[in-house]
């Protein structure tokens, strides 16, 4: 399936881009992050991140669908 990935803060720095389209067989964010973290050498373990699909927070076991926008959210620092 094809996913649209957005990156923010240090993950964008590490990936070298703010977004990318990726073909992947990962059925859930859990598998997708494991795959992506290896490619971009992300230092965060998934336990430190939250994940959003199409603009809403979801569980790591959420079933992904073709064309989903997936965002791995590093710990936030607003305010």
């Amino acid at each position: 399936m094809n996913y649209r990935l957005l990156y923010f803060a240090s993950l964008a720095d590490r990936a070298g881009c703010a977004s990318e389209d990726r073909d992947s067989d990962a059925p859930t964010p859990r598998e997708l992050y494991a795959e992506i973290a290896k490619i971009h050498d992300f230092a965060f373990t998934a336990t430190r991140l939250r994940v959003a699909v199409n603009g809403a927070l979801v569980d790591w076991g959420h079933r992904l669908a073709e064309g989903d926008e997936v965002v791995f959210l590093p710990p936030v620092s607003g305010g």
Partner: protein, 144 residues
């Protein structure tokens, strides 16, 4: 109802607080988060804020709706800046009005705590020594 919003322009507190007016309200508490010239012992020159806007607005709106339900408020608002900010700039504003000051103080504090904890916004500090870095406070039990 839009009680939360992101802004890439200066926040005008004088104008924004008018949204809190209510003839039955006797207390109004406002919080302003300013860009400080220091953090963790390092001199800071400026800050950049980045947001995942659609989710930030959804989460921010949810926090303010929760505050309206949890506390005896008349109104509540929050605006968070994005983009590049200088020392002294207003980064985030929270304002609430209530009949009594207990609820106003508690709700204002609760809202800024939740915004800092939940809303997907990240701060990039530019230090006097030329370095810069994204802040990712660790709020989870597991380390990196």
């Amino acid at each position: 109802m839009n009680r939360f919003r992101l802004s890439d322009a200066t926040i005008d507190v004088g104008t924004e607080r008018n949204a809190l007016d209510h003839a039955a309200a006797g207390a109004c508490v406002g919080f302003e988060g300013w860009v400080r010239n220091h953090n963790d012992g390092r001199a800071v020159l400026q800050l950049g804020y980045q947001a995942y806007a659609p989710l930030a607005e959804r989460e921010g709106e949810a926090i303010l709706a929760e505050a309206m339900a949890r506390f005896r408020l008349r109104e509540a608002r929050c605006i968070h800046r994005v983009g590049l900010l200088a020392i002294g700039d207003l980064a985030v504003w929270v304002g609430v009005s209530a009949d009594h000051r207990d609820a106003a103080f508690e709700a204002c504090r609760w809202i800024i705590d939740e915004v800092k904890r939940r809303v997907p916004i990240w701060k990039n500090e530019h230090y006097a020594d030329g370095e810069s870095g994204w802040l990712h406070p660790d709020n989870t039990p597991a380390g990196i």
